[in-house]
């Protein structure tokens, strides 16, 4: 069992997975942020590889990417920062980024480095399923890296079942068909979507991302799925005047209550 499966075998409800952009607010904050998120009770972490052309992200994450790139963050810098991360951190760690930086780094070298550091999975929102299965799946599998795939309210059922076969981690449910800012509450249509996917009885657990920013939205998704992925709200918290620890502690309570 990989680390992500272990997590879900121990805990099926109220999973909180947090996204932050590596190299933001400061280049060398990465390791401290990861350690503090674990210390304050976060279950899993998605470390964002900044990219200047993030098709799937809203303004807050785009802004953090711009700052991180200006700070000098890149995939190789990130890997060197994470070299000893498994000495202090035991929760699952996932890298999230766009396909081009990974291609230029080399897919095999990327997977090999992930394995040696102890990265459990990867989310590449612009890598389509058929490209993954055709070109890269065998490499990911060779190094034991889980590729986590996204679905949206528009994704067809047959495709969701295919995605379910391709991964042994979780399915990332994008909460809506638009990237329009964070909402204070999910609407009926979205709740219906959560219920619909949940009733498909997929083998992988479900986590909902996009639009979770407070206790209310967190509770809403936890009612129907295994938990949530929170990104923009964490990035906003990291920009506050306090210390990293104060900001992270306040942020986690603002979601979990």
């Amino acid at each position: 069992m990989n680390r992500i499966q272990q997590l879900f075998s121990k805990k099926q409800k109220q999973i909180l997975s947090v996204y932050f952009t590596a190299g933001f607010p400061q280049l060398h904050d990465t390791v401290s942020i990861i350690e503090l998120l674990e210390k304050h009770g976060v279950d899993m972490i998605e470390i964002g590889i900044p990219f200047s052309d993030p098709l799937a992200d809203g303004n807050v994450i785009q802004h953090s990417s711009t700052v991180a790139l200006a700070n000098g963050m890149s995939l190789s810098v990130l890997f060197s920062q994470l070299e000893h991360i498994r000495k202090t951190v035991s929760i699952p760690l996932i890298l999230m980024g766009y396909i081009n930086p990974v291609l230029q780094f080399g897919v095999e070298k990327f997977c090999e480095t992930c394995q040696s550091i102890g990265i459990d999975g990867v989310i590449l929102p612009d890598l389509p399923l058929h490209e993954y299965t055709k070109e890269y799946k065998h490499i990911f599998e060779q190094y034991g890296i889980q590729n986590i795939l996204l679905i949206s309210p528009q994704t067809e059922e047959s495709r969701i079942r295919m995605i379910d076969q391709q991964t042994q981690a979780f399915i990332y449910m994008v909460s809506s068909s638009s990237t329009t800012g964070t909402k204070s509450k999910f609407n009926d249509e979205q709740i219906h979507y959560f219920k619909r996917i949940s009733s498909m009885n997929l083998q992988n657990p479900l986590l909902v991302g996009f639009g979770i920013s407070n206790t209310e939205t967190f509770a809403q998704v936890c009612e129907y799925t295994h938990g949530a992925i929170v990104g923009s709200a964490c990035i906003k918290a990291l920009e506050q005047p306090g210390t990293l620890e104060q900001n992270i502690s306040t942020f986690v309570s603002s979601i979990k209550g």
Binding site: F51, S52, D53, L55, A56, Q62, T66, L69, S74, L75, S76, Y98, I99, N100, P101, V102, L103, Q104, F105, P125, D126, L127, P128, H130, E131, L149, L150, I151, S152, Q154, T155, E156, V174, S177, S178, T179, T180
Partner: protein, 400 residues
């Protein structure tokens, strides 16, 4: 090339050999599938073809002529012909794909057309198509280009479009594409991103090419009628590559015709000083498709520059990337100085003020004419230069 070229390329996933495809988040994936299905349905429908033909004839003023440049040929040698896309309604080839894209949008029940623009020609053409079909239109444009292409900004506003200034990064075409994508992602159900060239995720490179093929089909027939033979070479400028694909597509099977795509060489060959993607780039993924890109070792798109706003892009159409690899098309560069010289030569010898983008193709034709004085050269004059005149006067002034 094969008889089935247009059926073989792209394949069903939108690939031209290794280039193209659709590297996009799942929210867009389902929308692109809908657009592809709709395109295949209506592009084969009698009503759609009829409507587009009627629009081209009565509204756009097609066919545009092929013109023999007498004085230019006398001075430089060769026989230089122009396919006059500058005479297409709105002054460039861009309306050819915009009317098609807007017709498709209407069929899909979209309310709003969104796009980027560099030189403003695609923006003006899309705003025109939106007015024609009664749709909303939102155009994203870098602040640098807004200042440079002022007349086109005014035209878009007169036509009723909203112009969104883009102020991040270099404030030019690449950033305009980022911004337009972002706006589209906010509401992909009610809006459609009508991309301005043969770039972006599948089906856009295929669709825009198909809509531009009219340029080549007309030009080949007109040229044959005028001369009784095929030209020795065909030349077009390549930004994203739509005007070039339009004219090249009719000659790919004619092995005796040499085809040249002209990229912007800018102020020098140093990275950041040009936008010559195929001459200096490497394969990568940008804006949802795979192509030659100018990028750094981390896979970040590099800064680009050209005197012509419409050529100022770090990627290029996937079909061009393939045509380079299989060596069917030769890609070469023309720098800013050569471009400006050609701009004035065509203006003063023929009374045609070309767009700065098209001036790159003209400049290359002048080089070919000098090198091969016995040869015939067909240039796609993709647009007229009215939009550029204030910028030229302020930056370069009149020739001595």
């Amino acid at each position: 090339m094969s008889h089935n070229y247009f059926k073989t390329y792209p394949n069903k996933d939108g690939f031209f050999n290794e280039y193209g495809g659709a590297f996009i988040p799942p929210v867009l994936e389902s929308e692109m599938k809908k657009i592809t299905d709709a395109y295949f349905t209506i592009s084969k429908s009698h009503d759609f073809i009829n409507e587009l033909r009627s629009i081209r004839k009565h509204y756009q003023g097609r066919p545009t002529p092929v013109y023999y440049c007498n004085r230019l040929s006398q001075k430089y040698g060769g026989r230089i012909y122009l396919k006059r896309e500058d005479l297409n309604h709105t002054g460039a080839h861009k309306l050819n794909h915009c009317m098609g894209e807007a017709l498709l949008a209407k069929y899909l029940g979209k309310k709003k057309l969104i796009a980027e623009t560099g030189a403003g020609q695609h923006g003006v053409a899309l705003a025109t198509a939106a007015a024609y079909f009664g749709l909303e239109c939102e155009i994203h444009m870098g602040e640098v280009d807004i200042a440079k292409e002022h007349p086109n900004v005014v035209r878009m506003k007169i036509l009723g479009a909203t112009v969104v200034p883009v102020s991040h990064g270099l404030k030019t075409l690449k950033e305009a594409v980022d911004s337009a994508f972002e706006a589209y992602l906010k509401d992909p159900i009610n809006s459609i991103y009508c991309i301005g060239s043969v770039v972006g995720p599948h089906p856009f490179p295929m669709m825009v090419r198909d809509f531009q093929r009219v340029v080549g089909i007309e030009a080949r027939e007109q040229y044959m009628e005028m001369t009784g033979e095929l030209p020795d070479s065909v030349v077009a400028c390549v930004g994203g590559g739509s005007n070039a694909m339009g004219i090249f597509s009719a000659f790919l099977d004619d092995e005796e015709v040499a085809i040249y795509g002209v990229e912007p060489g800018g102020r020098s060959m140093n990275l950041g000083d040009h936008a010559a993607t195929m001459s200096f780039g490497t394969p990568g993924i940008i804006h949802g498709f795979k192509c030659y890109t100018l990028q750094d070792e981390n896979g970040e798109p590099s800064p680009v520059y050209s005197v012509a706003s419409g050529l100022d892009y770090p990627g290029v159409g996937p079909e061009h990337s393939m045509l380079k690899d299989i060596k069917r098309v030769n890609y070469d560069v023309i720098n800013d100085t050569e471009c400006i010289d050609a701009f004035y030569e065509l203006s003063r010898l023929e009374g045609i003020i070309p767009a700065l983008e098209s001036s790159h193709a003209v400049a290359y034709a002048l080089k070919l004419a000098q090198k091969y004085p016995q040869s015939s050269i067909l240039v796609n004059l993709s647009g007229r230069g009215d939009k550029d005149i204030d910028f030229i006067m302020d930056t370069f002034g009149l020739p001595k």
